[in-house]
Amino acid sequence: MNTKLKLEHISFSYHSTDGETPALSDISLSVRDGEFIAIVGPSGCGKSTLLSLLSGLLQPEEGRIEIDGTMGYMLQRDHLFEWRTIFDNLILGLEIQNKLTDENKNSIYTMLNTYGLGAFANARPSELSGGMRQRAALIRTLALKPDILLLDEPFSALDYQTRLEVCDDIGTIIKKEKKTAILVTHDLSEAVSLGDRVVILSKRPGRIRNIISIQFEKAFDTPLKRRNAPDFPNYFNTLWKELSSNE
């Protein structure tokens, strides 16, 4: 399969008058088409910085990024605007990029119906539950038909039960749409249940400590089912040991 995304020796630091804070150091990674990469690491290890670099919001100080396709970014919180209806929120990206065609609008209606939000097209964000809002945020990201999805802890603002459900929904949606995805999370079981590979970052400045391939049998093909797989605790423990061992 062809490479969708390639990082070569990426480094990045934040600058302030108090000094320089190195955030990422020498990150190299290549991601295949359709692959789901989960990135875990201690807080402050530069996970979110990595996504900002990939989306072009920040420029790497060293190294090179090669991207084949367009990016969609899903933030930690849904940030649906209360002054717009759900539908108007979902067309925000299309509106910004002047792609507000009937065809694109129809595809949003289709997604709304497919993902169980059909009845809420004209509702205000506050009328939706946390899980529904997060699904709406995903549709907003998918509306621009990105080839690669960047997910920045998209479930962390949800309560535990909703979190499992939405994680399952969104994981399944992304698989179904055959998107390449990069998920940043600090939840190890989330990483194991979603990822094809899990990248473990060290603490600041973030370096790649290890990359673990995750494989489950066909019977465990959704995030929720994976959690019941016999291998699940083994992967979890491997990640746990990697993260907790000090260099």
Binding site: S55, L57, L75, Q76, R77, H79, F81, W83, E95, I96
Partner: protein, 236 residues
């Protein structure tokens, strides 16, 4: 409908009783104040030439209603207030937006805004009258000068406090800074803009009254005595 429990009825009764008492006291306080004012002026404890009195105000008001002049005065004041309010609203939103778009410009201008805002505007009014002439334009400029600087500072500070992640969202969707302004900043700031307008309408009225007062004063006495004072000075 469910019948309310005795305790609930008791609670509601107490609540409405309390509300009524507050209202009675408010009105009583007003009547008390007006009565004291009237009595003290009648007994010449306070000077009615300076403080006027409720009966004189009522009398004056009624005679102005009968000859119709009150409506003209109210109309002019209202027009001046609304015109300056409208201009303050437009000006301050435009300038605050401009400052937000060009950050270094905001940094340069910040101390000047604070200084202009703390300038005593009533002291500015006579200067404006001498400069712009004794007309409605001057009153409106005076009213604008009272409200506009504070309004710019409030709006600009509000714009800066809009959720950074909402702004990031626009950039992740491929937006420009101008789109951040139109899609996030302005809609998110509407409650702020409205509350700021509520403050401004009051300030504009204050500005109009300051302007009007100074206008009358300048016309009648102040300029003459000021000039006389200047002459005496120069003669010395």
């Amino acid at each position: 409908m469910n019948k309310l429990s005795i305790k609930q009825q008791e609670y509601l009764r107490q609540k409405s009783h309390h509300k009524r008492r507050i209202l009675i006291w408010r009105i009583a306080l007003l009547i008390f104040f007006i009565a004291i004012w009237e009595i003290t002026t009648r007994l010449k404890i306070v000077d009615s030439f300076i403080f006027s009195s409720p009966s004189r105000i009522t009398h004056c008001f009624i005679s102005m209603v009968f000859d119709g002049s009150i409506f003209m005065h109210i109309g002019i004041t209202l027009l001046e207030t609304l015109a300056s309010f409208f201009l303050v609203s437009i000006l301050s939103i435009c300038i605050a937006m401009f400052l937000w778009l060009i950050k270094s410009c905001a940094e340069v201008l910040e101390p000047y805004l604070v200084m202009l805002n703390s300038l005593p505007k009533s002291a500015l009014a006579p200067v404006l009258i001498v400069w712009l002439g004794n007309n409605m334009k001057t009153i409106i400029v005076a009213a604008i000068s009272v409200a506009v600087f504070g309004s710019i500072i409030t709006l600009y500070t509000g714009f800066k406090e809009v959720d950074k992640d909402k702004i990031k969202l626009i950039y992740t969707l491929g937006g420009t800074k101008r789109q951040v302004l139109t899609k996030v900043m302005l809609p998110a700031s509407i409650p702020l803009i409205i509350s700021n307008m509520k403050v401004n309408i009051g300030l504009c009225l204050v500005g109009v009254i300051i302007g009007d007062g100074v206008k009358v004063g300048v016309k009648k006495k102040l300029v003459a005595s000021f000039l006389k004072f200047c002459n005496q000075k120069s003669e010395l």
